[in-house]
């Protein structure tokens, strides 16, 4: 069984290097694999954990925009613009590792909490979702609140209209716009430093991220990006370095806590858990083994991320970045067509237009998560009524 765990970690490294591909999307491809026993559950878990570390590489190394436009794209690019992409990667890995260590300590309390509060979840969830919508809009400055409201309303409409098209919508909001926007812009490619020194007190951000990831795992519709955006709103002066540790931690912690959510409450919070629930299974024994798989996969994924980025800072040039960006666009469109057919392409086109609008208006792209939040909100409101 340990072979499946290692193999899953290695596949996670490969898939993590493909820009725009999320764990939710990768597990869709696994539905094509015939069932081969409980080992497959550990394969999927290991794959997702190692991918949660590695997927920072393409998002940070590809599509680095020019200096004046980075606010509309990704926070990690700020460090890449200073030649500190490698340090940025180290910080996200550090955040992920802290999330695993503290998550394991926090796990028994989390299990007690979800079991004790499963009856009140249908009331808590819509309240938190309303709160998140409020934060998304109010955290924007001045007139951008109006623009954010428009993006939120439009994405919510798309989410309600394109039922069962989550994959194309996510690709459209988050995958394609970054790459398309970056292709159009003059690249600001600075020689990256090998330096990676940072202070250990950054671990505090990892702990905060772990708590954020745990909350995200409880509440459907809120992704790691949105959780990070909410935490950032309350800590306006957070430094980019601290923010990256936080994001790295939330990303890993979100997946970590989605396992007890599935096992104890049968709630699948991401594509991997949905796959596990529908195609595979988790016994009590497998539940505990899955945390051992997480530890191994985090070790493999984390070290691979550091080693690959060390190589990447040497070989990445404007030409390689442009080729990778074009290839990633082709791959994303192909995957959407493969899994969701023409309707997927239509959904992706609309969501990509909205995602690009968010980038050009320089508002948080998490606002596009209205496509997930609002349908979930409606569902819970109908349940309560």
């Amino acid at each position: 069984m340990i072979i499946y765990c290692i193999a899953g970690s290695l596949v996670g490294i490969m898939t993590g290097l493909i820009p725009g591909l999320h764990t939710n999307n990768i597990t869709i491809t696994l539905t094509l694999v015939p069932f081969i026993g409980p080992e497959m559950s550990l394969f999927v878990i290991s794959m997702c954990v190692s991918q949660s570390f590695v997927d920072f590489i393409p998002s940070l190394f590809l599509g680095v925009p020019e200096t004046s436009t980075f606010e509309g794209v990704l926070p990690g690019h700020k460090m890449a613009l200073k030649g500190e992409a490698y340090k940025a990667i180290c910080l996200t890995v550090f955040g992920g590792l802290i999330a695993i260590i503290t998550g394991l300590m926090f796990l028994p309390f989390f299990i007690i909490f979800i079991n004790a509060n499963k009856e009140v979840m249908p009331i808590i969830v819509p309240v938190v979702l309303f709160f998140s919508i409020g934060v998304l809009i109010l955290s924007e400055k001045k007139y951008k609140k109006v623009l954010a409201s428009f993006v939120l309303f439009a994405s919510a409409t798309q989410g309600l209209f394109f039922v069962d098209q989550i994959f194309p919508l996510i690709i459209g909001y988050f995958g394609l716009p970054t790459v398309i926007y970056s292709l159009q812009k003059e690249k600001f490619y600075k020689k990256q430093k090998k330096e990676s020194q940072f202070e250990f007190k950054m671990a505090i951000e990892g702990v905060i991220g772990m708590a954020g990831g745990a909350i995200v795992a409880i509440i459907p519709g809120i992704g790691s990006n949105l959780a990070a955006a909410i935490i950032k709103t309350f800590r306006e002066k957070i430094k980019t370095q601290n923010y990256l540790t936080l994001v790295g931690s939330i990303n890993t912690s979100n997946f970590f806590f989605s396992i007890p959510m599935l096992f104890f409450l049968s709630k699948a919070r991401n594509g991997a858990m949905l796959f596990l629930n529908e195609k595979l299974f988790l016994t009590e024994n497998l539940f505990y083994l899955s945390f051992i798989a997480i530890i191994i996969a985090a070790g493999i994924g984390g070290s691979a991320t550091i080693l690959i980025s060390k190589k990447a800072i040497k070989i990445f040039s404007k030409k390689i970045i442009n080729i990778s960006e074009i290839l990633s666009i082709i791959l994303m469109v192909f995957l959407v067509f493969f899994f969701n057919n023409f309707i997927g392409i239509i959904a992706m086109s609309f969501s990509c237009a909205l995602g690009l609008l968010a980038v050009y208006w320089k508002i948080k792209r998490s606002t596009c998560l209205g496509a997930l939040i609002v349908p979930v909100l409606f569902f819970y409101l109908f349940v309560l009524i």
Binding site: Y86, M202, I295, I300
Partner: protein, 109 residues
């Protein structure tokens, strides 16, 4: 802290994980027969059999015939028909004082 410290932590993760794996791992499902599985409540195993009768499709409840006949409960929808040969990852559980199989997974062969 720097990159080499992180790599050392990662290495420690792998070593600790592997040690924990060998300390706690035991094979949960082995190929067995229905009669062996029904010897004791809590037994787990993989059994092969033919679906003799379907009581309910969702959640799945059916009679499985192998070296013995037994009721099988599967908490999800079953996509099988009578006379299909299936492989089941199951655990023996008591229902109404009678031993039956709780299926974690039903695979049509």
């Amino acid at each position: 802290m720097n990159d080499s410290h992180i790599i050392k932590i990662c290495l420690a993760f792998v070593i600790i994980g592997v040690i924990l794996y060998f300390a706690f791992y035991e094979e949960e499902f082995k190929e067995t027969s229905i009669s062996d599985l029904l010897e004791k409540e809590g037994n787990k195993g993989i059994v092969l059999g033919r679906i003799e009768y379907i009581i309910k499709f969702e959640p799945g409840l059916f009679v499985l015939a192998g070296d013995e006949k037994v009721n099988v409960f599967y908490p999800k929808k079953i996509e099988v028909n009578v006379d299909d040969t299936v492989i089941i990852f199951a655990e023996t559980r008591k229902y109404n004082d009678k031993l039956e199989l709780f299926a974690y997974k039903v695979i049509k062969k």
